[in-house]
């Protein structure tokens, strides 16, 4: 009897255990999370005019397109696998099977696009680096943000304050923090001076974008601000983050570099660069991090460029190049040469530009900007040279070489709308000296949006001063009379040609800057960098320079911005970059902090009617966020990092919350 009882019990336990595990059948649930809508979506009513804005909704007239990409090895590129178009038939919710099977042992990337009744793209989102094993069940969140616009990342739109993705930074924000995106799409952020606690932070955090959660990870080896954080690919699932340099808690500059291992949650010391610097910049190209410049403990700019990379799991730090001018407070943009052979093997030759900055590190307003021909330098493995540039008329109408720009943001954008792709460099924000003489000047936030492009000879011949003063032929002219004129920089004019235009032309133009009177850069005299007017001298022939620049007025003043490329549609005539503006004031103290301003730059070719050539226009895109700030948030900041991921999405950081800028497409 006892044995029978024992056997019965044993079988029962076995059955129960089997039943416990019976649910793990490789289910994969993707939950789409939407931005806060203030209840608008519940009251959806379709009409032709669409007076209400339903951008943040998935409604009955919408379509959801889920694209699936996969790769079997972590170091391969993703390839298209499948897609599912879902027609939405309910205003409340929806559920649909998107595929019958996913392949075991495969990495997946999911990208979601929501289009409205007019087939205008209105929201996108995605998740990266999901390793699928059919013996588990998966539940993945994908947060959708408005395309070409930003929204605060929340897990539950009905409770934005309670479920927002929050950083370790409090309401008053920070300055000098740094961030990097990991290979699986997670975002690492650390350090910075926290105004709420009046100290340099040692905290580090990882934002899990597949779970829409954040967690504090191992603290930095020491408190750091104005330091570098850059992704390095070591062949592992998440990769590593190089962190270091900068300024620590006692005010001294730091020479150490570490790499953070997200798998083990540890920092490992890298070989010493031999120089302690702050305000250096770092950029990741083809899996290696390049650390550029920085100002040393005496406040002098340094010229060193170092490459940090992994080979067979072993890290190395090696000198890569030397700048011609030592600097800090500069910006970097990747203009690498990429070649793909007939077998699909990609070869990247690292090359980047170093834009502006200061030759010293002093209190704001006391720095000396980098000027002259070395305002921009091109750095590659075999040489460093100044980037030779001019304005369209062959001179330097905006006086960029004269005034320089301190703390600008820059990024390289590939214009692929023509048979041959072309790289342009967008520059925004920063601050500069505005005045006629060395003695009399004011420091102002850079009022211009500048696009550098390779000189194709598209310049005006026989350029004369009289013709410039007529206005319309001036690339920097913000006049409204000719929409085809490159001078027309109406940032809010995104019109019907904007692929992200959701058809709503109602009250959603809070940033209509058609009247750019206050920010008109061309009315501040000759020394105004955006003034392309009376230069008082005959310009040199443009053909003598390798690059030319076009200037538009910026409706936003950003003294310390950061910029990242936003994923844009292939072959589109519009390309985009997102800017984390930061404060408009030069100072970085608590009195100067402001709301977190985020905007999207739209870069496009336009025909200059007077020059008779195509030039590049840069303008600030319209936003649903009034004043380009999150009106529901009381969080502020001085400056913050911005990062992009493999899906072309951009995350703006540096404040209490995390903001997602929705991309148009996967790059």
């Amino acid at each position: 009897m006892k044995k029978m009882l024992f056997l019965s019990l044993a079988f029962s336990v076995l059955f129960a255990l089997v039943s416990c595990d019976s649910g793990n059948t490789g289910d994969f649930r993707i939950s789409l999370k939407l931005p806060t809508d203030n209840g608008v979506c519940q009251g959806f009513e379709y009409d032709e005019d669409m007076e209400e804005d339903y951008t943040y909704c998935i409604n009955r007239t919408d379509q959801v397109l889920l694209s699936i990409y996969s790769k079997s090895e972590i170091n391969e590129d993703y390839v298209y696998a499948d897609r599912k178009l879902i027609r939405v038939d309910s205003n409340k919710n929806g559920k649909e099977e998107f595929t019958r099977s996913l392949k075991k042992g495969t990495f997946y990337r999911f990208f979601v696009e929501v289009t409205n009744a007019n087939e205008k793209l209105k929201m996108t989102g995605g998740v990266d680096g999901i390793y699928y094993d059919d013996s588990k069940n998966y539940s993945v969140d994908i947060f959708l943000s408005a395309v070409g616009d930003f929204t605060r990342v929340v897990r539950d739109r009905t409770n934005p304050d309670g479920t927002a993705l929050e950083s370790y930074i409090d309401t008053d924000g920070a300055k000098g923090s740094a961030a990097a995106t990991l290979k699986n799409g997670d975002v690492f952020m650390a350090g910075g001076y926290l105004f709420d606690y009046e100290e340099i932070s040692q905290k580090a955090m990882i934002f899990d974008m597949a779970k829409l959660s954040s967690k504090e990870v191992k603290k930095l080896p020491m408190p750091l601000m104005d330091f570098v954080a850059s992704f390095v690919d070591d062949g592992t699932e998440k990769g590593k983050v190089v962190v270091g340099l900068g300024r620590t808690g006692d005010g001294t500059t730091v020479s150490q570099l570490w790499y953070y291992d997200p798998e083990k949650d540890v920092y490992n010391l890298l070989p010493d660069m031999g120089v302690a610097v702050e305000k250096a910049k770092a950029i990741t190209i083809d899996g290696a991090a390049y650390i550029v410049g920085g100002c040393d403990s005496n406040g002098n700019g340094t010229t060193g460029v170092y490459k940090v990379s992994f080979a067979n799991g072993v890290p190395s730090v090696e000198p890569f190049a030397n700048l011609k001018v030592g600097r800090c407070n500069h910006a970097l943009a990747d203009i690498s040469d990429v070649e793909i052979d007939e077998n699909g093997v990609k070869t990247v030759t690292p090359k980047f530009v170093v834009v502006g900055g200061s030759i010293d590190s002093k209190n704001e307003g006391a720095e000396t900007p980098v000027t002259g021909e070395n305002f921009i330098e091109i750095v590659s493995a075999d040489k460093v040279e100044p980037l030779s540039f001019s304005s369209r008329n062959g001179g330097d109408d905006s006086n960029l070489m004269k005034t320089g720009i301190i703390a600008p943001s820059a990024t390289a954008i590939t214009m692929d709308d023509r048979e041959e792709s072309e790289i342009v460099i967008a520059v925004a924000g920063g601050y500069l000296r505005d005045g006629d003489t060395e003695e009399e000047y004011n420091w102002v936030a850079n009022p211009s949006l500048v696009v550098f492009s390779r000189n194709s000879g598209a310049t005006k011949k026989n350029y004369k001063k009289d013709e410039v003063d007529t206005g319309d032929d001036d690339p920097a002219d913000t006049g409204d009379d000719d929409p085809a004129d490159t001078g027309d920089v109406e940032p809010a004019d995104t019109g019907d040609d904007d692929p992200a235009d959701t058809g709503d032309t109602g009250d959603t133009e809070p940033t209509d800057t058609g009247d750019t009177g206050d920010t008109e850069p061309a009315d501040t005299g000759d020394s105004d960098p955006a003034d392309t007017g009376d230069t008082g001298e005959t310009p040199a022939p443009a053909s003598s320079t390798a690059w030319v620049y076009d200037v538009n007025s910026s409706p936003k003043s950003c003294a310390r911005p950061s910029m990242a490329v936003l994923g844009s549609e292939e072959k589109s005539t519009f390309k985009y970059a997102a800017v984390n503006c930061g404060t408009s004031k030069l100072e970085r103290d608590k009195r100067s902090i402001s709301n977190q301003v985020i905007y999207v730059l739209q870069i496009k070719r336009v025909k200059d009617s007077d020059l008779g050539v195509e030039v590049f226009s840069s303008s600030v895109k319209d936003t649903l966020m009034e004043g380009n700030v999150d009106g529901e948030s009381d969080a502020r900041m001085a400056d913050g990092p911005i990062v992009s991921n493999g899906l072309g999405q951009v995350y703006a950081l540096g404040g209490k919350y995390v903001y997602l800028v929705g991309s148009y497409a996967i790059p």
Binding site: F28, S31, Q42, V64, K84, N91, K92, F98
Partner: protein, 107 residues
Amino acid sequence: MKVFTKLLVTLLVICIVFPAYSQEEPQPQAGVNLKVGENFYFEGNINDSANDDKEESMAEIQKTPFYKSTWFITTCAIIVVAGAAVGIYFGTRTEEPNGKTVEWDNK
């Protein structure tokens, strides 16, 4: 549901472990040993059980361990049946898994 199943498993484990690994304690020597040929006297009324130390001692000797008690066996039997039912239900059900789904809620 899984919480319930786990609770069931825990109870089943208890039902197995206790009877299987509990050892009966050695019975203490008790009672009255009589030798052959020895006279035995009993004083008092044989039907009077009050204040009878010997009867109390015998009750102690015959006390049943809890895992042999009716209530324990009954409980275990119920758990066995319930556990088997739950196990058979979940182990053999043919309900389709949730599959690969995408879902959203507009609220």
